[in-house]
């Protein structure tokens, strides 16, 4: 995996390298942060925060930038969770739907369904949530997930199937109706 290397800001190519790294890995980082917090906005903030911290970083050269960014974002998420700053949260998904031609009723139904699935995902453990996020958000193969999760591809398939079934059970308990 490519890495911008040291945190020296004097390097003129550093900005470009960080831009490139962001384009390549921001979505993956978001997915992993999302698996940790089950909050799309907060996960995105964690991505931004980790890249901001790296931009201001002037310490020893970073050997594995992905691990470094993950660690920073994870710590930031923990700090935020400790402070429990849940106030002023926008209704999920509405910002993305404002430009669509769907009726208000459709928008409400869709946002309600999103919220139900989000709530159900929180009921799963973090590893189950992680495989679902990597599969359906990143469209990763079992082999790719196995590398990240440090297990075999067969174990990933099994975990994925189990997580999907568990999520379906939770949705059923919630009275979720798929239309």
């Amino acid at each position: 995996m490519t890495s911008p290397g040291s945190g020296q800001t004097n390097d003129p190519n550093r900005d470009e390298v960080i831009d490139k790294y962001y384009r390549e890995h921001a979505r993956e980082l978001w997915a992993l942060f999302y698996a940790m917090c089950s909050d799309a906005e907060r996960a995105y903030d964690a991505v931004q925060e980790s890249f901001l911290r790296y931009y201001d970083y002037h310490g020893e050269p970073v050997r594995d930038l992905r691990a470094w960014l993950l660690r920073v974002g994870q710590n930031w998420l923990r700090d935020v969770a400790r402070k429990k700053s849940n106030s002023c949260r926008l209704l999920p998904g509405l910002d993305d739907l404002t430009g669509r031609r769907d009726s208000n009723e459709d928008i409400l139904v869709m946002s309600e369904r999103q919220e139900q699935i989000r709530t159900a995902l929180k009921e799963l453990n973090e590893d189950d949530r992680k495989v679902l996020v990597m599969k359906y958000s990143m469209d990763w193969s079992a082999a790719q997930m196995a590398t990240v999760m440090d297990c075999s591809a067969a174990a990933i398939d099994m975990r994925l199937s189990r997580a999907r079934r568990r999520l379906a059970e939770v949705l059923l308990e919630q009275g979720f109706q798929n239309e």
Partner: protein
Amino acid sequence: MNDSSHKRSDSKMLSDDQMNGLLRDFFRLEAPTELNQPFSVADLKSSRTAFLSESQSDSVSPLTSSVDAQPSRRFMVSSVLATLAMSLFVFLATKDSGSTSLPTAAITPEQKSPENADSALMNVSGQGDAKGSNVPVGNDGVTLEETEKIELKPRP
């Protein structure tokens, strides 16, 4: 009974295909659109600057500044008052010690000795040393020896 209700719940439960579609739609909407936009360090810098200016303006709120200003003003007033009080005390102490120390300084070591003090007290006769018992005291010529013999009795 239990088997039938279990089967009914299984029939209501979403299939794998349904879950696949559901989760794909969910994450398509869930992921922020900003992630698809190109990221630039210039945006990063501007957002950081805006964030810092916001946090600075938040931290220096009017309430905070007034609360912070009060102790420093109090400290200045109290220090000025303390300085004035100290000056007054030093002035008064100097003045008092000056008035009391002057007579002390006027007494010579000779005057402080007990012998000289006795002689000064016993010098009751204008004609000389009053230690002698034969020296008349006063205008009527009564000597000290005679005055010692006088018996004082209370009046009836």
